[in-house]
């Protein structure tokens, strides 16, 4: 008997989930679900997404129910998790890593009435799939400027995760602005091929430090590179990535890029409630409040700090674009002419280094 009840409840849930959208012009109660690639306690990427999720709960109180799953591997396993979430009555599902792109679209095809929101991706194969991203390269420009001014060895490093446009545009932006601030600067890029592996991230930082690098930026999720830099007693500085990483303020962290997903999450769930929800491709930056520059500490000289803040404000005001020509590609062929700014399409499909960066992007 019990078992039959369970099945009946499951079927009811399924029916609700599938039928929920039919009268979707506004909803009284929304269940928002989040899929995380790492643990919430990573202190970086996933932590910030979870802050966004909590902001949704805060904003709407008991009109919204949030659910989440941590440590979901990218790839086939993600599809299983997404299907499970869809069946459990989620109305909107945020998938918060690039590698969920295909799984998100595949599951979205099966549940046309559930809204899917994929972070940092570009595939919107179904009307119920939206993508959202933040212009992290704007923050990278500010970091690059600080790095170029602060390096004493003229060697700066970058711990990269995977060779995807998102990461490559960050490297390019970082390098271009470091070079502008200091023409002698050399950039070493280390590909870790992971988003989250503290030990490996620390090893990558160590490898860079052993090579004489004294400013490290990272595009992985944990605070391990800062922990490694802290072992050098101030000789090496770094930046907080995704989260402020303020606990390293009195150590190597001189500034940070903070991902602030809260405004977007609150807005989208709100739209679902009042019936104004539409498929979009959102890409906000410093101006929209999605990318924040964490406090620049006193380790940075006052004039450098002022320059960095001026750049931040110019980007926010729309008077400066981090990719403004003339810029050549690594092989010397022209990309942007004098005064031309990069079109979004070029950035979203970026698969080349700009001129001056040494090394190849792994395939």
């Amino acid at each position: 008997m019990k078992r039959r009840n369970l099945l009946a409840t499951a079927a009811l849930g399924l029916g609700l989930a599938l039928g929920g959208g039919a009268f979707a012009q506004g909803m009284d109660k929304v269940k928002a679900c989040f899929v995380y690639v790492g643990p919430i306690g990573d202190g970086g990427w996933t932590f910030q997404h979870h802050q966004g999720a909590l902001a949704v709960q805060e904003a709407y109180g008991d009109k919204v129910e949030i659910a989440w799953q941590e440590n979901v591997p990218e790839g086939a396993d993600a599809e299983r998790v997404l299907t499970q979430m869809a069946l459990s009555g989620c109305n909107i599902i945020f998938t918060t890593s690039f590698g969920y792109m295909d799984a998100t679209n595949a599951v979205a095809a099966k549940f046309p009435d559930i809204k899917f929101e994929h972070a940092t991706g570009y595939k919107r194969e179904h009307p119920n799939v939206s993508t959202y991203n933040a212009r992290f390269y704007e923050g990278r420009a500010v970091q690059g400027h600080i790095a170029g001014k602060m390096t004493k060895s003229n060697k700066i490093g970058y711990i990269a995760s995977f060779p995807i446009p998102e990461v490559i545009m960050g490297i390019n932006s970082y390098y271009l602005h470091a070079k502008k601030a200091n023409p002698n600067v050399e950039l070493s890029v280390v590909w870790a091929f992971t988003w989250f592996d503290p030990a490996k991230e620390a090893d990558a930082a160590k490898a860079l430090i052993d090579q004489g690098v004294d400013v490290i930026a990272s595009h992985t999720d944990s605070t391990a590179p800062l922990a490694e830099a802290a072992k050098t007693n101030g000789a090496v500085i770094g930046f907080g990535q995704a989260s402020d990483m303020a606990e390293y303020k009195d150590g190597p962290r001189v500034s940070s890029i903070i991902d602030n997903w809260a405004p977007y999450y609150v807005k989208r769930v709100g739209q679902l409630m009042d019936g104004t929800y539409e498929q979009i491709d959102a890409w906000e930056g410093i101006a929209g409040g999605e990318v924040e520059i964490g406090e620049i500490t006193d380790k940075v000289p006052a004039e450098v700090k002022a320059e960095a803040e001026a750049m931040r404000d110019a980007i926010a005001a729309g008077t400066y674009h981090p990719f403004t020509g003339p810029i050549n590609k690594q092989d010397g062929s022209p990309w942007l002419a004098e005064g031309e700014t990069a079109p979004d399409g070029d950035l979203l499909g970026m698969s080349f280094y700009v001129e001056g960066i040494v090394g190849d992007i792994p395939k």
Binding site: P39, E70, A192, L208, Q211, K231
Partner: protein
Amino acid sequence: MFGSIDPALLLAALMVNSVPIMLAATGELVTEKAGVLNLGVEGMMIMGAMCGFATAVVTGSPLLGFLGGALGALALSLVFGVLTQLLLTNQVATGLALTLFGLGLSSLIGQGYVGIKPPATGKLDLGPLAEIPFLGRALFAHDWMVYVSILLVAGVWWMLTHSRAGLILRAVGESHEAAHALGYKVTRIRFLAILFGGAMAGLGGAYISLVRVPQWTDGITAGAGWIALAIVVFASWRPWRVLAGAYLFGGVTVLQLNLQAAGSAIPVQYLSMAPYLITILVLVIMSSGRGKAALNAPACLGQNFHASR
């Protein structure tokens, strides 16, 4: 080809990098030599990382931290021991469950420890040895745990091959029926081996959270336990080969990162693959059956024992 990589620094990084997997693999080797397959190494390591970190932060002493890490993981292995040795559950399934349990429990306990820095583990002052050019920087400028881990491998090797206790342990792993018939307490011996394996995995985990990445983060071991399991097989259950295997696995990681930092053109994927390819190769050679290597796997590995007679 190697650009500007300093071999002394590379060797130094390799030694540090290999400590966690070496410790965990040595512990697992003893457990498997007694005939018990514990796939929960990853779970025990992360419990060690958590408990070690917490103990070190609370007491302010790295030494007590390592002790706490060993004890935390030992407690988890005790659960495995009770389940598999007393309740005779399936070892593979129990081991996998242990990993999941360890990951979750460590995350729960660790909530309050995110963003704290542990007390620094001191470098061992080897005096004149550290002054030797090249070798001094490569081999004699590490924290004391690096040397302790090598001593532990040596100790396990001596125990297994040169002591009566090691002989009994191996007998239990090769044929628990025969060992039982001779009057040895199979269950008790296996229990002790499981606890030893747990304590070693805990030390390895604590090394990650106290020395290599001095911080606590959820999921900090990130698969090191599985590599340790692979190393045991790679080493065909011999302690010194565990040391070699750990240096190989750890060394390749360090080398490929350094090559990248130095701007070498070698594709990183090949180097990352290398240790796993070698492991597969070793497995193939072993399972071909004729070789001496195949004889090394404990005959009763993974089988439960119940004294029915």
